[in-house]
Assembly symmetry: C2
Homo-oligomer: 737 residues x 2
């Protein structure tokens, strides 16, 4: 790692003139000042306004325990700028896995030291100014008058400069599995009701203008702006509440644990920001409070990415860079993974996770599993799992996920049932030893599954035994799940305590050399840099929704701009037989072509990639499946060739440790034509090029299985002209000769 | 174990006449009927009314998850009595430890099968009628229309027959450490404010007539009545709300997690019971709900004990009998324990639990303990612990409790700090290996201490490692503590989830052969029968309050009627130097004489007894200390010789496996004269009798250290005449010759 730290300036007076801090190339300029006692920042990009002057601060709760009897006061105003520091950092680091072998972390840091003189205490705000945006966080040094505090609400403002187009999800404390809405900012309020009812997720918004991050926007003059956060560990997940013309007061939920929008919120005592301002809104705990803090501590980084080129939104490493370096000494056991699994057939409804239908409900202690009546639909049985192992082995897939292997699925979700699973007892028809031995003999591993049913206390009680079982049988990765309401009741999926839980699981798993892929957990914020055994998350509407009514064709052209900013998604792509009625009773259908499905292995970066369809469905299209066999999922270099939110994404990636390249393009329902110049290939070298493209008449609904496979030899400088069908895409492999 | 099960009757019609069920000796008679669809019971004792007709039922929450979409309806009315069953059971069992070697469990059971026809579901109510009271519980068989349900409130009524005198604690979800109030029922409301402000506990009542159980009463015509519960495991602790002339509606707290009295409670839709009716009020979770249930399941037993002789309140085994038999196969490792400890000097304020005062707060991961500056007041240091080990060894005490041995005490309580302790890292001046080796070489064990600071999630995360550490160094008992507000926030000490936690700890400890003594946990309900490694609880105002301003002299003449009904208390008696200013800066003083302190080892039954004062204080009164050296804490037989709540208690106990008897008498601030007939001694045998009595001028305030020791030889039939000073008592040992 190369360090180049340059101290540029140090002591400034507390003059109220704004300080300007420029990014290394000067495109991004942060201004900071203290305005009437309130920390205030603004942002420009190439001289164009991105964030109008916006206040920063936190409202604290008047808790009996806070600050040892001192009546707690907010960290909102009364500040002076005592001192500030600027330094430039330029370093390069290597992720354990990722889109690039080397990541440059080059920024100018600005640290504002802000005493709140009346209360004899000091808060810091640290900014890092990159060429593609900024990050800032609050820091609270250990000090006599600020030891512990409770956050009523963080009030970080992001005042937008106009009525941007935004791609947003309704703000919810427990789910991110909605369809993305595309509206102007001024239309968020009027769209909210429809947005909440969209799809089949159970959504309860906290405000009629509440949205989630990562929030991708585009200004009317073509600036791409993204607001998210980085390194959210022991802190509540941030949402954003938009102040619009109708806003009378900001939503504050103190003292109530309801997750429904509060009709009579307690208003903040501070002036309402201007319209088009987003204000941070943290996920509450069961009592309505947003966070319990002990100094020294800091918030996560709040990020604003900006560019006039949409591709920069995708190639940015800003969020990873704002996270701490890897905390694990040994990462040799962490590896990219391609897998298939006993999963899609249950999602579709053809078979079941549970073993029996004999009882209205079960209690784990009271069932003699060998004696119960099987329902005949249990998927995770020895025969079927062996079939998947054989398939994986034959096709070079690393692992086989098996869901429904363990007892408890009979009544697992949304029953407020604490002791749902024990994570160690297989169903009678799942021979854990035999199947792992069989898999290992075929060069394949099984991938463990721990659905917690959001009964987190139960999971923590059993986790050590569950990980020991994994070590015993040779599992090295687990998919966890958090379906349903959180137990303890009143808590939310994105609260401080749940975020602590998710990371606790990752840390404990690391002790056992176990990789974690957490579903329904909070949206990622780049913590995979620090804990690279966090190889995946769901945290968005995944492929499973194609069996629950479907997702829009442009869905996968939005996710890389939003959900993927914080880390990889276990999107589980690869559905070849998109009309589920062809092999099940499910009338749903996936809105994608086969070539489009192949493209997702490139456009949706993840070190963990599933081939989600059934083996028999792949066997029908074995020539197309060749791409899945071949594609890498760890990279030396990635080049985003073109991108536009909700329209199209094209990316070329060089497989790690090889000279082979793969290119993928995915588009929305309108189709897309693209021309790829192969100028990134090694000069003077030839490549076997295989192009998996939509057939001329391909269409995500009418003709999804029409594809062509073209092989030729290419060299640097050649051009590929490709046509993506509506809801389609393409995939190219370039194998160095 | 001797079983005598007799089926007396079976099928009855749903006629609305009350069914009468008599206790084995006929003194207690239960009547049960269904009155306008509501289950209704009443109770008489020797023909006198004890409980007027009272309704039974539960209000359920209208939760989205309940009963799979069915709109949830209450289990309050619409019942018919389809069938009932009566049987008599007479069995005798042996506790692992206790007041008696054999316990007879003799009752007539009445089971009412109650379909709620409109909803096609059935609830059972099971009564057990003993000669000294009744127990009843609700049972919910597994059935299609009652699979899961959420309890809004249990509505078990106990309609008293008049304006009884009651000994009560203000109803609180988190503390039982108040002084007991003695008032008429009609005076509870007017006394509440004073009761809440009494002492220095932080009390937040749920209702102006809310009280805790066990509630001891005495009717104006001399009936002793006690309401409590038995076998409260995975269910919220029950409080009682009195309906009086001012009651407009019962308090129901649904949807709010506040622990303060709700000024505008949502009223129950059911008619208000008559004045002098107690109605059950369960401890809520963070969302205000009272319980999440899955059939088949049942509530704890609700108990009404009754007699015209106060001694029967103390000798009753009704609550133990209503608990399930021992669940542990091997109990050989469970033993009664007498102990001293590094504790009182910290309680008094002379030394500290924490090792350093260097930091405003600490984070366990960030401190290099070897490098911090000691505060010079840390009690749990090698030298001091060795002094206590030497003292224990010399005086036949089994164990030495050491509090403050582990890192984290610098800022441990009420800071909403989750990661407070790790339970495995000793302070630098506590050599855990050396001290345990030293203790074992002297025939003594150390007694572990796990203060959780009510951060239960943190404790559960570290518990297995903590118990392993105990096993490694040879600890076999742990004192746990739950000081401060519960984390996760919004939960309460007596909620369903916390009650589950306490029992989880006991069960996990049993796997490690560890005995548990849980402080600040919920009040016990006889679970020590099922899990006899639960050797103690605090759950009331203990001796520590003598250092916090003091407790009334009659306090220990009330506790056996109330707190001790459910199980032993680690009251930590034995303060000899009652004026704390004699050796510290603490102006508090214990309101007891030395002879009174000795009496507590008998009147406050526990298998775990502390000699709480400092070794040097005992050494000043070594002749009195002889009684503590000698007294047993496990018994073959116990005979309550006289008793009156808040006035006096005299008990004789035969030490287990010996022919030695011990007698103790404790009285209130008025003094007491007693005549003990030694007719329980073996005929024809002689006993060395040592009498530790208050001196003539002894007085709990003016002359607490004035005692006499008299030795003589006695035989069966002899009479001892004893005078107890104000706030005093006596203790007698009778060693068989």
């Amino acid at each position: 790692m190369r360090y180049c730290i340059l101290f540029i300036s140090c002591l400034l007076s507390s003059v109220m003139m704004a300080t300007e801090v420029k990014s290394p190339n000067g495109h991004v300029v942060l201004s900071f000042t203290v305005e009437n006692g309130r920390p205030t920042y603004s942002l420009t990009y190439k001289g164009r306004e991105v964030v109008h002057p916006s206040h920063l601060g936190l409202e604290l709760a008047k808790d009996k325990h806070a600050s040892k009897g001192l009546e707690e006061t907010d960290l909102m105003d009364g500040f002076t700028l005592l001192k500030d520091e600027v330094k430039e950092v330029d370093e390069t680091w290597q992720p354990v896995w990722g889109e690039n072998r080397n990541i440059r972390n080059h920024y100018v840091e600005y640290l504002a030291i802000l005493p709140q003189v009346e209360y004899f205490r000091t808060m810091l705000i640290r900014f890092r100014v990159y060429d593609d945006g900024i990050g800032f966080r609050y820091e609270f040094p250990q000090q006599k008058n600020l030891i512990y505090f409770l956050i009523k609400e963080e009030r970080s403002e992001f005042r937008m400069t106009g009525d941007h187009t935004a791609w947003w999800l309704p703000g919810d404390y427990d789910t991110q599995e909605q369809e993305t809405q595309e509206t102007r900012l001024s239309e968020i309020r009027s769209r909210m009701k429809e947005a909440v009812n969209w799809g089949n997720s159970s959504v309860a918004v906290f405000s009629p203008t509440g949205v989630q991050t990562s929030l991708q926007m585009k200004s009317q003059d073509g600036l791409y702006i993204n607001i998210h956060e980085a390194a959210c560990a022991d802190y509540a997940t941030m949402h954003l509440e938009l102040v619009d013309q109708q806003t009378k007061a900001l939503t504050t939920q103190l003292g109530g644990g309801s997750n429904a929008y509060t009709p009579n919120p307690k208003p903040s005592p501070y002036p309402l920001p201007q319209p088009f301002t987003f204000v941070s809104h943290l996920t509450p705990d069961a009592t309505g409070l947003k966070g319990a803090m002990q100094t020294p501590c800091e918030t996560p980084w709040r990020t604003v990415m900006v560019s006039d080129d949409a591709r920069d939104m995708l190639s940015s490493n800003l969020i990873l860079n704002l996270n701490e370096p890897c905390a694990l000494d040994d990462t040799s056991w962490i590896h990219p993974t391609k897998y298939c699994g006993v999963w899609w057939e249950m999602i579709v409804g053809k078979s079941s996770w549970n073993y029996t239908d004999e009882f209205p409900s079960i209690k784990l202690d009271n069932i003699e599993w060998q004696k119960v009546k099987p329902n005949g639909r249990h998927a995770a049985n020895n025969e079927k799992v062996k079939r998947y192992i054989d398939f994986a082995s034959k096709n070079g897939l690393d692992q086989v996920l098996v869901e429904g292997w363990n007892v408890g699925w009979e009544d697992w979700a949304n029953m407020w049932k604490r002791d749902v699973f024990d994570f160690v007892t297989p169903y009678p028809d799942f021979d854990i030893k035999m199947l792992n031995d069989y898999a290992h003999s075929k060069g394949v591993k099984l991938l463990m599954h721990h659905e917690t049913s959001s009964s987190t206390q139960n999971y923590e009680r059993h986790m050590e035994a569950a990980f020991n079982l994994m070590n015993e049988y040779g599992y090295d990765a687990v998919k966890t799940g958090y379906v349903g309401d959180i137990i303890p009741r009143g808590d939310h999926h994105y609260s401080q305590s749940m975020n602590n839980h998710y990371l606790y699981v990752v840390k404990e798993a690391a002790k056992h050399h176990i990789m974690v892929n957490a579903h329904e957990a909070t949206r990622p914020t780049g913590l995979c840099r620090t804990y690279p055994n966090l190889v995946g998350n769901e945290s968005a509407r995944g492929t499973e929704y194609e069996a629950f009514g479907g997702s829009r064709p442009d869905h996968t052209c939005i996710l890389p701009f939003t959900r993927l900013q914080g880390g990889p998604m276990d999107y589980t792509p690869g559905i070849f037989v998109t009309k589920l009625s062809e092999w099940s009773d499910n009338p749903s259908w996936a809105r994608i072509t086969i070539a489009g499905s192949l493209a997702l292995y490139l456009t949706m970066y993840s070190p963990l990639q599933m081939a989600a369809d059934l083996p028999e469905n792949y066997e029908k299209f074995d020539d197309a499946f060749q791409f899945i066999r071949e594609v890498a999922c760890d990279w030396d270099e990635s080049i985003y060739l073109e991108a536009e939110p909700a329209d199209y994404i094209t990316v070329a990636r060089k497989a790690k440790g090889t000279d082979n390249w793969f290119i993928g393009g995915k588009c929305d329902e309108n189709g897309h034509k693209t021309t790829v110049k192969l100028d990134f290939l090694d000069k003077g070298r030839k490549y076997d090029c295989t192009i998996y493209a939509d057939a001329k008449d391909a269409h995500y609904e009418k003709n999804p299985q029409a594809y062509t496979i073209t092989k030729k030899v290419v060299k640097a400088g050649d051009v590929l002209k490709l046509t993506e069908a509506p809801g389609g895409g393409f995939a190219v492999s370039l194998i160095a000769k």
